[in-house]
């Protein structure tokens, strides 16, 4: 998979106003910039996600300042609740200017 693609998992049935878990994985090398190339002995330049926003219907749910010490192909999980159906949008950017977005529809009953 290409760098920056994300996979989001939400429960199939979501009840109104009840917290549910949102899990997602982003494909990214997450190079911290402190590692050395074993062959050349030079530092591998940093390349990791720095900011991540989770929005629901345009409202900010969670904001993360991500450091280089999060594992490669990072996994995140948060809880959230809502009274209405809508779109969950996850947007993130890395220190090399890459910007990506991923949207998921959420239906409550």
């Amino acid at each position: 998979m290409a760098i920056g693609t994300a996979r989001v998992r939400v429960p199939k049935k979501i009840k109104k106003g009840k917290p549910f878990k949102v899990q997602f994985i982003i494909i990214h090398p997450m190079e911290p910039g402190t590692r050395k190339d074993k062959k050349t002995g030079k530092l591998i330049p940093a390349h990791h996600i720095t900011k991540l926003d989770i929005k629901f219907n345009g409202k900010l749910v969670t904001h993360m300042d991500v450091g280089g010490a999060v594992s490669a192909n990072p996994y995140f999980a948060i809880m959230m609740k809502t009274d209405e159906s809508g779109t969950l949008e996850i947007s993130y950017e890395d220190n090399k200017g890459g910007k990506w977005k991923k949207s998921v529809e959420i239906k409550v009953s």
């Binding site: 969670t62 300042d65 999980a77 959230m80």
Partner: protein
């Protein structure tokens, strides 16, 4: 055979080592404290123990430091939480991630997977909206480091 001079030399180095070692330990822990202050913004003494409220889940032994699952589940209403930070004492960059919650989260919960350079304390630090700090701490033993 050992003569008088050699015996004295040996004793001398022994004394030197034993007097030096407490200083070595001191500088080591203060280094962590310095990093803590830089990244968290307050000295370690201002952060209270919140292990009864913050449930920090980590493995006791991680086979590889490249992928250590960490999850935080706090019994603090999310409305009162300003942010949550995962802090690893002996990582080159100890501040792993800072998460800002909102009331829409419903629950103070966060999980991720982190890299660890070596055996170290993993801390979950929560800043509450009233300005107080709480932390939970766990030691994770790492067999193979994951930060180079």
């Amino acid at each position: 055979m050992m003569n008088r001079r050699e015996v004295l030399k040996l004793a001398g180095t022994g004394v030197l080592l034993s007097t030096l070692s407490p200083f070595v330990n001191l500088s080591f822990s203060s280094e962590v404290e310095e990093k803590f202050k830089k990244h968290v913004g307050v000295p370690m003494s201002k952060v209270k123990d919140g292990s009864d409220k913050i449930k920090l889940k980590t493995p006791t032994i991680a086979e590889t430091g490249a992928n250590v699952p960490v999850s935080v589940d706090a019994k603090i209403p999310v409305e009162d939480v300003d942010w949550l930070m995962i802090f690893v004492d002996h990582n080159p960059v100890p501040r792993v991630i800072k998460v800002h919650f909102s009331p829409m989260n419903g629950k103070t919960f966060f999980a991720t997977r982190i890299k660890m350079a070596k055996t170290s304390n993993v801390r979950a630090i929560i800043k509450k909206k009233d300005g107080s700090y709480l932390q939970a701490l766990k030691e994770v033993k790492v067999t193979i480091g994951g930060c180079g």
